[in-house]
Each structure stands twice: as C-alpha cells, then as structure tokens.
Symmetry: C2
Subunit: 410 residues, 2 copies
C-alpha cells in the first residue's frame, strides 16, 4: 500500500485505508518466471472464485495494439472476467500472429489453472516491444502461481506487474456505504516520468460489493476518464494500457443504480484511481515536481485541448523541473494548441495572477519563485467564458528522463 | 552565409551560391541599441528603394499573437511592404495595448527613416515575452541604422535579428532563370533544439526578380509549408513567427505565371527556405543529430498527423539523441496519434526494415546501431495505401535542452 499524499487528493470521509486481504471472493499470486533478467516477479495471477463476479474493462485507444489487448477485446467476455493473468518484462506488442497465439496460450493456461472458461480470462502484458514472448516460461509461471493463490496475495501480484516503477502503487480500503461496508483494492503499474517501457499503465481493481454489469462499466468509464486519462507523462499513448474492475458481490452489499450506495462507491473508486494516477505521475528517477493545470472556458474540447497542450509541453515541463515561474510558456503552449483564434488569457501560477486578458501583470517575483519550488505546482488558465473545465496532472522533464530514454532498448 | 549541408538538401543546378550584396534595390543595416544585455546588434532595418516592390507574408497561427504580428496583419499592406524593421531581445508579446502602441511607434519611426508610408512597413520582434519593450531605444536604433543602410548590409541585419542562435542562417545565391539571372538572399533566425525564447522563427527573403503579387504570395505560401511548417523543435508554435518575401523587380527579369521562370524561381526559393529550416533544426547547444521522418499512406491528414507525432515524441527524440534504434517508439508514437484505428505499420530506419505489417522483423543489430550513429537519421513509416506523403525534420532531446530550459526566464 502506497503512502502517497497530494494536496489535490482528499480522502472521502467514508473511505478508510486498511492494509490486508483482498476483498472476499478474490485470491492472487505473483511469481518469478525468468522473464525479467533481474529475477524479480514477472507472472501475476488473480482469480475470482464466485461465478457471479461481474467486470468491466478499458483499454488503450492506440492504433498499435499489443496482442493481449487485441485478444481481450475480441475473445474475452469483458463483463464476466473471472481471471486476470499478466506478465511483465515483455509487452507482447508488434509480435504479429505469433503474439496473438502466445496471448491465447496464456489465456488457455490460466483458464485451466483457475478452472474457468477461457473467455473469462483477461490477459495483460508490459515490457519490451517487438520481442517474441517466451510463453513457455509464462505458462510455467502460471503453474507455479496457482498453488500460491491467497487472499493476502495482492502485494506479490502487484510486484509481478511492475517494470520500471520505483515504488508500489496499491490501494486497500474499506468503504462505508449506506447499506454496509465493502472492501476495495487496486494494483497499478506505470512510471510517470521515465517511460522506457512506453509508460504502459495497468490497473486492476477488486471489490466485494455487488455491482451490476451496467454500474461496473459506467463507474469504471467515468473514473478512468478522470484519472488515467488526465495525466500526462510525455503525451504518449501506450500499446498495452489496460484497466479492469471486478466485483465479486461476496459482501452481500448490493449497489443499486442511482442510489446513495452507488454515489459513495463511485466516490471511493474515483479517489482510488486518481490516487494511483497521481502516483504514476510522481514516480520515476529524476522526477522532482508534479504539475496540475486547470483550464476554464466556454467550450469543452477547447479546454481539454489547452490543458493537454500545457501538460505535454517540454518547455513547461522543463520550467516545472527548474522551479522557474516562466508563465510565457503556458501562454505559448495554449496559443499553439488553440491556433487561428485570438486569445486573451488569464493565467495564475499557484495563487498569483501573472497574466490578465493576455497582458503581463506585475507580481512579487521572490514570492512566486518560492511558490514554484515545492513538490506540487498548480497552473490555472482562463480562456474566457464559463461552463467547461479540464485538469491534467503532469510530470516534469529532467536530465534523468534524457539519460534513461536515450540509451534504453533491448 | 551558412556552410550548412545535409543529404536531404540538394542544390538545384541553376542555383549558385555567391556571397556578397543584397539583390538590386535593397539596402540593410543592423545596429546595437541596448536591448540585448550583451551589447550585440539588436535593431535591424531593411529598405526596398523601388516603389514597385511587391511582397508576401506569412505569420504564426498561434492564438497568442505578439503585438508586431497583430500590427502587421491589421495595419500593413502585406503585398506592398517596402521596409522591415525588427528587434531582438524583446518579443513585445503579452504586452497588451502598450505593446501594440510600441509596435506602431516602431512602424512610424521606420516609415520616417525610409521615407515610405507607414502601412508599407512590416514590424517583427523576438526575445523575452511579457516584458514591456523599451521602444525609445528601438527608435534610437532605427535612427542609427538609417545612415548605415547598405547593399552589403545583410550580415549586420541578420546579426540583429538573432537571439540564441549559435550560428548565422543566411542564404545568398544567383538563380539562373531561362529569362535571365536574378539574385536571391534570405536571413533567418531561430534555434531549433534550445528554445528558451520560444523558438521564434523570423525569415526575410529578398529578390530582384519581378514577381506579381499573386506569384509572390503563392510561392511563399507553398515554400513555407514545405520548410518552416515541416520542422519540429518541440512541437511548439511561437507567438512571433514571421516570414516575408520582397521582390524589387530591379533585375528586369519578369517571372510570368506558369512559366519555366516561375518553376525555376520556385525551386530556388524552396531550396533556400528548406536549407534555412534545416539549419534551424540543427542549431542549438547539445543537439547531436537531426531526424527526418517520412510517412506514406492513403490519407493526407493521417500521414501529416503521424509524421508530426513521431517528430514531436520526446521518446523518439531521446532515442535519436542516444543513437538508439528503438523502433518500438516510432510504432507507439504513430499508434498514439492515429488512435481508434488498427494499424499494420511498415517501418524502416535508414535502409533497414524493422517492422512489417505491425510485426517485428529480424535485422542486423550491429549494422543498424552504426547507421543511427551518424549526424542524420531517417525514419520511414508506411501506413498502408498510397497517394499521400509527409516529411518532418526534427531535433533530438538532449541534456542541454533540459539544462537551458529549466533555468531560463527573465
């Protein structure tokens, strides 16, 4: 469980952190199968015992999809996933027909190990692109993981899905709903700042609440949009991004549509995924600061485009790294993204307005320099107009990013 | 005149480099007016003596426009520019109404100095954003430049428009057209890799060919699209980008529409602007290599989007810097840009195919590592289909980029 805190993240009153077991109905394991040269854990298995388990899934929108993503989208009943099998060390991407067959072999082996139908197994991979997967070792790993499946196996599972992550990104909480308390756990991987393995994001969420397929899909969709879709590492989409929510119903607490239970459960899931997404942004060698840009305006696509442009700008990221309150770069990034339309921006860094109606305003330079020297820096941009708002969290651009990404391949 | 060579740039047979004077009908000067703390030249003046001089102009599409760009677009007869006045050291951007007035003052002073109408004066600025321009010093500079206007003043003019450029970016050639030889000179500024001053690109082109307004506009538009629009520094649009072509007609060689003269003149202009654009990409502390990505496919917007995505990807840029033939990053950048559509990419690095139909193909790793260790690296991507093609030239991502951009402000 991570001890990650951010001023942009407030734990709801009905959510209590408690380390310990997976929600009732789940068992997990993670083993070392030899895919990682380091000998660390690299094959992960998660099993939901109850046949009535429901699920939802979201995948990368990249046009270049890894084999396990293609397999899941085409061959897995995404509303009825009982098993997740994942490996780290090899992304099984750009591996062609053989890659699809290897993903299918993982699916088959995990189905046999867990005693479920193969179309109830989701497969995920992360690691190097373009190298064939050593599927024989993965299958041996699945066999080794099977007898180790335990209710307290989340940490091993989580370790086996990580690649360059500097720290674990797990959540384990009790959620007090009006109808009773449920358990919610989640394991994520992804290192924000440095992304030699293409910053693949994997996230698996388990709960013993009883969710309908529709609620599971709706809540996962909304919460992914507000978390993993709202962070920028380097503006890159991965070939392998996968998020899966599974609900066993074993608590007996039924979450009815449009109830207070649904609202509270949604708040807890939202908090959990945003926490994991922020942890991904903050991870990585050399990452010194996290930025948050909030853009307000009249038009939904425009505010989202502007927020992403600021978060992806290498000039803004480098200034964030250097503790440099260079607001001209914010103006330039927004102007470049929303081109052909004259803009009269208002810009704030932390609480200080630095630009009003497109014109520089005097500010206390020493105070602002101090304000941007902390671990989190907030930028606010008003395009004019009201009704639309978008935020994006982003990492800085450091020397270590260059060092690591200039020399990483096979 | 730059001694810049690239394998991606072939000098047409009818274009001969010859250092020396501006085309007949032009005089230029550049002086130090105290805007640059270094005391280097920072006010530039260019005058076309002939009333029949025609011109064309292109500006940044940014939504955040600097005052001189707004002034030129609204208050200058862009087809009849007789004078260019430019300053470096201050971009006169995000300076509000005062900035517009200061740009108008520059226009007025230059009109008086050259004895032309104020609406025949183009104004350009480059430097720091958000600080008021010391227009009094600029006006003194214009007064000082006036008596120094000379036919051999291009070098001083060029020095006075540069900011962080490590080397001059000038072209001076004779162009042998079927109807006679004309002179073509150009001065550009912009440092590709490092862009603390927002990588503003300024380019001024002079010729003594007689061009109609329509031909001047058409040729400048086409050639800017194939040059300055096809380079990526860090995916950022500047607030101040300006390109101006002026034709005095003093050679007596009249370029008639759809003639061989027009074709040959267009080739020369295309070569000149592409050379300057490549020089901009290659400039900068720490820039080690230039990349060229060529994307082929069936759909014009898709190939352009994919090429820009590769050129702007920090992962691709860092790999270019490190001499790392990491083609997975090319696949990932294209996939991320053209999302929601399955892609089966073919990818080549230099002459070596590394990916076919989305699948890795074996290649000689030692040979490819050697191939990407040169100063220029070429990437080719085929999306499938034919008929559309886009190229983008780009700089690498180095430690010095981070160093310079993390700590630069006022």
């Amino acid at each position: 469980v991570i001890a990650f805190a951010s001023r942009w993240l407030e734990t709801p009153a009905h959510v209590s952190e408690r380390a310990g077991e997976l929600p009732a109905g789940f068992r997990a394991a993670g083993v070392a199968a030899g895919l990682k040269p380091s000998g660390a854990r690299d094959v992960a298995l998660l099993v939901a015992d109850a046949p009535e388990t429901v699920s939802a899934a979201r995948f990368t929108r990249s046009g270049v999809l890894a084999a396990p993503v293609v397999l899941c989208k085409e061959r897995t009943r995404l509303e009825a996933i009982r098993v997740v099998v994942a490996n780290s060390g090899n992304a099984n991407a750009a591996t062609g027909r053989r890659g699809l067959e290897d993903a299918a072999r993982m699916q088959g082996a995990a189905a046999m190990a867990a005693g479920v139908r193969e179309d109830q197994v989701a497969v995920a991979s992360t690691g190097v692109i373009g190298l064939p997967l050593d599927v024989r070792e993965v299958i041996k790993g699945i066999a080794a993981a099977r007898p180790q499946l335990r209710a307290d196996g989340a940490e091993d599972f989580s370790a086996a899905i990580r690649t360059t992550d500097a720290f674990a990104k797990d959540v384990a909480v009790d959620v007090a709903l009006p109808s009773g308390t449920v358990r919610l756990t989640a394991q994520a991987k992804g290192a924000g700042m440095i992304s030699p393995a293409f910053a693949t994001m994997l996230c698996f969420v388990q709960t013993d609440a009883a969710l309908s397929v529709e609620i599971a899909d709706l809540l996962l969709g909304v919460c992914v949009k507000r978390s993993f879709d709202r962070v920028s590492v380097d503006g890159q989409l991965s070939t392998n991004d996968t998020a899966i929510l599974m609900a066993s119903g074993a608590s007996g607490v039924v979450v009815v549509p449009e109830s207070d239970d649904e609202l509270r459960f949604g708040e807890a899931l939202d908090w959990a995924l945003r926490r994991l997404a922020l942890a991904i942004v903050s991870d990585g060698e050399g990452s010194r600061r996290i930025g948050r840009v909030l853009v307000r305006g009249a038009d939904e696509p425009a505010v989202a485009t502007a927020a992403r442009a600021v978060a992806n700008s290498p000039l803004v990221k480098a200034a964030l790294h250097g503790g440099d309150p260079n607001w001209g770069r914010i103006a330039q990034a927004v102007g470049g993204a929303l081109h052909d339309v004259p803009l009269a921006l208002d810009i704030w860094i932390e609480e200080t307005q630095v630009c009003a109606g497109g014109v520089a305003v005097p500010f206390d330079e020493a105070a602002l320099a101090l304000a941007v020297s902390g671990e989190e820096v907030e930028y606010t941009v008003a395009l004019g107009g009201e009704g639309a708002e978008a935020e994006v969290f982003f990492s800085d651009l450091s020397h270590d990013y260059v060092t690591i990404n200039a020399d990483y391949t096979t």
